[in-house]
Structures are given as structure tokens and as C-alpha cells.
């Protein structure tokens, strides 16, 4: 069967859902971070699929912007995670729950 645009869109939606689920169930900050990356790339896939269907350049350029943003996010995110890990090695996000109520 030839994959259609809709197949790509469904795949992207699934990937996005997996990422969102991961954020809800995983506790390791690095894995949660990867889940966010997964969601962003699912969106990229959506953009590319739609741009191909429209044969339009806009959707494809958007992907480049998203990639740049994702790269910047990696820098910031890893920085925050490392600074926490240095203080409390092996911490999960559930250990960071002092602020509540």
C-alpha cells in the first residue's frame, strides 16, 4: 500500500501522543526531555507531510525554525538538568516536589 499524506499525519499524531504519555509516566528528567523532543519532531513530520501535499515551501521552512529552537532547548534543558544532578545525583522529577499546595 502506498503511504498517503494522511498516513504521515496519523503517524505524527501517534508520535506526539507517545511523547505526551511519556511526560506523564516517566520520572527521569532526561527521558522526559526526550519526550518533548519527540513531540517537536512529530510536529516537524506533520509540517513536512502537509507541505508536500500542498507543494508549498512554507511548511518546510517552518521545520528549520523548529529544529533551531529544539537545538536551543537542548542547550538550556541539559544545562538545567546538569545543574540539578550535580547537586542531587540520581534525582528524579518526583524528588523535586517541595513547592506545592
Amino acid at each position: 500500500m502506498e503511504p498517503t499524506t494522511t498516513s504521515y499525519l496519523v503517524l505524527a499524531a501517534l508520535l506526539f501522543g507517545i511523547g505526551a504519555t511519556g511526560l506523564m509516566i516517566r520520572r527521569n528528567p532526561l527521558v522526559m526531555f526526550m519526550c518533548i523532543e519527540l513531540m517537536l519532531n512529530a510536529v516537524n513530520l506533520t509540517f513536512v507531510a502537509l507541505a508536500t501535499r500542498f507543494s508549498d515551501i512554507d511548511g518546510q521552512t517552518a521545520v528549520f525554525f523548529v529544529m533551531v529552537v529544539a537545538a536551543a532547548e537542548v542547550v538550556v534543558g541539559l544545562g538545567i538538568i546538569i545543574s540539578i544532578m550535580r547537586r542531587r545525583p540520581g534525582a528524579t522529577v518526583d524528588d523535586l516536589a517541595e513547592l506545592k499546595g
Binding site: 505526551a20 511526560l23 506523564m24 509516566i25 516517566r26 520520572r27 522526559m32 522529577v93 518526583d94 523535586l96 516536589a97 517541595e98 513547592l99 506545592k100 499546595g101
Partner: protein
């Protein structure tokens, strides 16, 4: 003086600023004199304005002075403007006049208080706000004063904030008043929406010309009434007022008897064309709430032992009369009763303050008695206040209450009966109070020990600066009725209906409305009936409490205290007693519970909600994802597919 009407609020402002900046240097009694002088100055200007207005033709008795353009943006034009007309000047006269007397009294009463100058700071700020409220040319300026008096009231109730009860009472006053405030704000928005202005002349003009739809007018009237009920302590928002007695007594006299609590009545009177333009049920609701509050509060007053609590419930009850008047279209009578009530209730509050002062901060009436011997002037003036509120002619209260009852009968016999019963109860509980405090045995002698530090305990008469206001107010309570005498045979024509003629362009003509009704024709008989009711109440109370006086003195406090309750129950009979108890329980349990319940309800809901704020990132993600799903379902399924 009309051109400088701005001086009226400006002088208390100057006083406020002076005390704010130099309060500590002025100290005691300097700060008190500065504050009193500022209010006296405002009074003098108001009197000048009064005579200026009087010299004008009755249709030109209106002077608007625009201080500055407050919100002048295309569709929204609101001026910071003062309106001097008969109604506002009447209000300003007694606010500044009685305010001045109470300032004088307070100089004596607050003697030795460590926060002496701060007290007068708040007091002047209060007078300033109250004057903005009554002199405002539009709803927004009035609302500004409305908020201001609420805030000052809050600060003054919790003035002795170290007392736990005072702090709680202050909070309660704040919360109930805020509920009323949103009523006023919504009324303001609705009015602005309908008329495009919030000035009284525009709103009332639209109502008179019929440009205001009846449904909108009803909405505005009822929303304003919500605000008025909060400020003027009507059912079901009345319960902050008895608690407000935690404040110093001059505050009770000024804010919680004479001025602030009448703001609601004032506002309704100010907007009377809008009420007239609204559906019939709007004024009926107002009248019924007023009548029921009057009766309800009077029954509670019968069972109180705290000297100030009796007066507080009595105030709620009398305010109920005023709303009854507003609801039955008797605006002149409402203003009339507001003025006379301000005289005699301020007098009695100050009198009770003098008693409390002389008794070294004892407020329980069961520990008083026979005070007339040691405090002759306080007792004498208090007795005048009692006769005035009980409705004995020719004292002031008789005339105003009689006029309200007349209008009530013209409107509804059921309301009239409620009014009469309340009148009997009023005479009863006030007589009870006078007997318990000033007559009978001196029950304070046995409590000398309680006041250990004083050594020999003996109540004393208050200093002259506190007695002077009492005497002046007593004089006014005697002759105050003269401003609006009814048209009885023996009263000369030129003396009749003076207040009505004076207020004429602002509020609808008074007696003309009910002329020709059966009630109007029988008005002499009604007056006699009212007198009979007053006498009945007084006689009953004397019979009950005089019996206690005849008995020999018994040393145990509790026995005596119970005896009074027993006497009451013997008089009222078992069921009557239980009814009063039930009312008092309803008051402290259900109504009080409703407000504290709302507060604690908010708290418990919040406590449950805050458990959702777990602190775990993963839960937060779940909340966000759930939100995403919810919004998606709305958009894609409900809006998209269906």
C-alpha cells in the same frame, strides 16, 4: 457658599493630612481638636450652602461643581463633581453636625488611648468619604465614598485589633460589605449601559422620561438594593452590624448609627425615579425586606444583655423602618426618620459610651442599675433618647415613625401590622434597657472586686466635653420632629411639611401621593393608635422590670441574671420565650453561619482544590494533557462534527 462647596469634603481632608503628617507631634488632645475643627469648618460651610439654596427658587436648588474631569474618554464621560441639592445638603448637614459632636465626645472618650491621634485620623478620613458619598454628582463618586466609608469602618471596628473578637468583627464587616459593593458596581454598569452615563441627573432623567426600560430600571433598583442592604445592614446581610460594636463607642455612634448605615437609604432615595420606573415588585421587595428586618431585629433586641448590642439591633430595626418607607414610596418620611434617628440613636450610643466610660468598660446591663444617681446628665439625656425612639409625642421619633406607618397602611395593611408590632417591641426593649441601666438596684457595687486595681469601684459622671454633645443631641431629639410636622388641625399651616417642601424637587411630593386613601383620612386615629402602642410597650416593660426592682437585692449575680430572663419568660410565656431564643439562635446559627460558612466554605473548597496542586511535574503534565483533550473534544467533536 455654593461655589465653595468643595470645601466641605476638603476640610476633613486637610484635617486627615494634618494628622497624618503631624499626628505624633499633635498628640493628645491636639489631634482631636484638629479633627473636630476640620469637621466643624465643614459644617459651617454646609450651613452656608443650605441658606444659599434656601434663597433660590425651588426648581433651581441644584448646584453642580465640577472639580475635574475624571474619565473623559469618548464614550465614557465621568466628572469628579459635587452636587449640592436639598437632599445632599440635608445629608451633609447631619453628617458634619453630628460628626462634630461625636468628635468632641471622642476626645473625652479616647482619653489615654495610646493610638489617640490615629483614631482621629481614621475618623476624619471617614467623614471625608461619607461626604463624597452624599455629595457625589454621579454613581462613581458616590461609589468612591462608599468604598471609603467601608474601609474606614473596617479599620475602626478593628481599632482595638489586639482583641480577637474585634479583628473577626472587622473581617466580617469587610466581607459582607464587599458583597453589597458588587451590587452597586453592577448597577452602575447596567445604568451606564442603558443611559451612557452614571450621573444621577442622566439616570433619573431617563427614568422620568421613560427612556429607561422597565426591566433595566428593575435590575438597577434591585442591584442597588443589594448594595444598600449590605451597607445599611438589612436581612440577610445585617449581621455585621451587631458585631461591629467591637469598635470604640464613638465609632458605633458615628458610623454604625448616624451616618454610614444610612448610606443605603440615601442611595435609594437619590435614585427614587429609577425605583418608580421599575416593575411593581421591586419596591415591594424593598418594603418587605425592610419590614421583616425591622421586626426580626426588634425581637432579637429584647433578649440582649450587652448595652451596645441592644442599640445595635435597634439600629438594624430602625433602618428596616427606613427601607419600609422607601419601598412604600415615602421617601420624605425615610429621610425624616433618617434625620431623627441620627439624633436620638447617636445620643443613645454616646450615652451608652458615657455609661461604659463611667463603668470602667463594663458593658453588661446585668451589672448596671441605678446609674441615674451617679450619672444624672447621662441618664437624663438617655431618657430623652428613649422617649424619642419609643414614639412618645412630642419627641422627634414619634413624628417620623408615624409618617412611615401612615404610608405603610396606604400601601399594605399587612406591612402596617408588622410595623405596629415592631413599634410595641421597640418601646418594650428600650424601656427594658433604661430600667436595667438607670433604675433599680445598683448591681455594680458587688463587683468592685472584679475591678480590683481600682480599689473602691464607683461609676462616675463623664467630663464636660463628653456631656456637651449629649445635651445638644438631647435637645435635637426633643425638637427634631418640628422639621416635618403632619397636617393636623392644631398645627399652623406654615409649620407643616417643611422637610417635604424643602426636598420637593428631588423626591416625589409626599402626602399628595396618598391623599384620598382611607389611611390618609384616618390619620389622626392612626397617630393615637401609635401612641397607644408605645404606651403599651413601655407599660409592659415597666411592669416586668419594675417587679424585679421591688424584690430585695440578692447577692448572687447569676441568680439575678436568671431572674431577669425568668421574668421575661413569665411575661412572654413559654412559647414566646422559646420564639425569642429561636430567633437568637437563628441569628447566631443560621444567618451568622451562612456568612462564616461562606468564608469557611471557600476555605474548604480551596483546601480540597489545593490538593490537586501536588507539586509533581508528572501530575501537572497530566492536567495539561487532560485539558488538551477536553478542548479538543469541544472543538473537533462538538463544534466540528455535531
Amino acid at each position: 457658599m455654593l461655589d465653595v462647596i468643595w470645601l466641605v469634603p476638603a476640610l476633613p481632608l486637610v484635617g486627615f493630612l494634618a494628622i497624618l503628617l503631624f499626628g505624633r507631634r499633635l498628640g493628645e488632645p491636639g489631634a482631636g481638636y484638629v479633627a473636630a475643627a476640620a469637621v466643624l469648618g465643614a459644617f459651617v460651610v454646609t450651613v452656608g450652602a443650605f441658606f444659599d439654596l434656601l434663597s433660590l427658587d425651588e426648581h433651581h436648588r441644584e448646584h453642580v461643581s465640577v472639580l475635574f474631569s475624571w474619565v473623559p474618554v469618548s464614550s465614557l464621560q465621568i466628572d469628579m463633581a459635587l452636587l449640592a441639592d436639598p437632599l445632599s445638603i440635608t445629608m451633609a448637614l447631619f453628617v458634619t453636625g453630628i460628626g462634630f459632636l461625636i468628635h468632641l465626645f471622642a476626645i473625652g472618650y479616647m482619653h489615654g488611648d495610646p493610638k489617640f491621634s490615629k483614631f482621629f485620623l481614621y475618623l476624619n478620613l471617614f467623614v471625608l468619604s461619607m461626604l463624597m458619598l452624599v455629595l457625589g454628582e454621579n454613581l462613581l463618586v458616590t461609589f468612591l465614598g462608599w468604598e471609603g466609608v467601608g474601609a474606614c469602618s473596617y479599620f475602626l471596628i478593628s481599632f482595638w485589633h489586639t482583641r480577637e473578637s474585634a479583628a473577626t468583627a472587622g473581617k466580617k464587616a469587610f466581607v459582607t460589605n464587599r458583597i453589597g459593593d458588587w451590587g452597586v458596581m453592577l448597577a452602575m454598569f447596567l445604568g451606564f449601559q442603558a443611559v451612557g452615563s452614571v450621573s444621577y441627573s442622566a439616570l433619573n432623567g431617563a427614568a422620568e422620561s421613560g427612556a429607561l426600560a422597565s426591566s433595566t430600571a428593575t435590575g438597577i433598583a434591585l442591584l442597588l438594593f443589594v448594595g444598600a442592604a449590605g451597607k445599611s445592614a438589612q436581612l440577610p446581610l445585617y449581621l455585621w452590624l451587631p458585631d461591629a460594636m467591637e469598635g470604640p463607642t464613638p465609632v458605633s455612634a458615628l458610623i454604625h448609627a448616624a451616618t454610614m448605615v444610612t448610606a443605603g437609604v440615601f442611595l435609594m432615595t437619590r435614585m427614587n425615579p429609577v425605583i418608580a420606573a421599575s416593575a411593581d415588585y421591586a419596591p415591594q421587595i424593598i418594603a418587605w425586606v425592610g419590614a421583616l428586618t425591622a421586626l426580626f431585629a426588634a425581637t432579637i433586641a429584647v433578649a440582649q444583655h450587652d448595652i451596645k448590642k441592644v442599640l445595635a439591633y435597634s439600629t438594624v430595626s430602625q433602618l428596616g423602618y427606613m427601607f419600609l418607607a422607601v419601598g412604600t414610596g415615602a421617601y420624605v418620611a425615610a429621610v425624616f426618620h433618617m434625620v431623627t434617628h441620627a439624633f436620638f440613636k447617636a445620643l443613645m450610643f454616646l450615652g451608652s459610651g458615657s455609661v461604659i466610660h463611667g463603668m470602667h468598660h463594663e458593658q453588661d446591663m446585668r451589672r448596671m442599675g441605678a446609674l441615674r444617681t451617679v450619672m444624672p446628665i447621662t441618664a437624663g439625656t438617655f431618657i430623652i433618647g428613649w422617649l424619642a425612639i419609643a414614639g412618645v409625642p412630642p419627641f422627634a421619633g414619634f413624628w417620623s415613625k408615624d409618617e412611615i406607618l401612615l404610608f405603610t397602611l396606604a400601601s399594605s395593611p399587612v406591612l402596617y401590622v408588622i410595623g405596629l408590632v415592631t413599634a410595641v417591641l421597640t418601646a418594650f426593649y428600650m424601656t427594658r434597657q433604661v430600667v436595667m441601666v438607670f433604675f433599680g438596684e445598683a448591681r455594680w457595687e458587688s463587683h468592685a472586686d472584679d475591678h480590683g486595681a481600682h480599689g473602691e469601684f464607683r461609676p462616675h459622671e463623664s467630663p464636660p466635653i463628653m456631656l456637651f454633645p449629649l445635651v445638644v443631641l438631647a435637645g435635637l431629639s426633643v425638637v427634631g420632629g418640628a422639621i416635618q410636622l403632619p397636617s393636623f388641625g392644631i398645627i399652623p399651616d406654615s409649620w407643616r411639611h417643611r422637610l417635604e417642601d424643602w426636598l420637593h424637587p428631588v423626591v416625589e411630593p409626599g402626602e399628595a401621593v396618598i391623599k384620598g386613601t382611607a389611611a390618609y383620612d384616618a390619620k389622626s386615629w392612626l397617630a393615637l393608635l401609635a401612641i397607644a402602642c408605645a404606651v403599651l410597650g413601655i407599660a409592659a416593660a415597666i411592669a416586668v422590670y419594675a417587679k424585679g426592682r421591688a424584690k430585695p437585692f440578692e447577692p448572687e449575680l447569676l441568680a439575678r441574671g436568671w431572674r431577669y430572663d425568668e421574668t421575661v419568660s413569665a411575661f412572654m410565656g413559654g412559647p414566646g420565650r422559646r420564639a425569642f431564643d429561636a430567633v437568637a439562635r437563628f441569628d447566631s446559627g443560621v444567618v451568622d453561619g451562612a456568612v462564616t460558612g461562606t468564608a469557611s466554605g471557600v476555605r474548604s473548597v480551596a483546601e480540597r482544590l489545593r490538593r490537586g496542586q501536588t507539586g509533581f511535574v508528572r501530575n501537572y503534565s497530566a492536567v495539561v494533557v487532560a485539558g488538551v483533550l477536553g478542548v479538543l473534544i469541544w472543538f473537533v467533536i462538538i463544534r466540528g462534527v455535531l
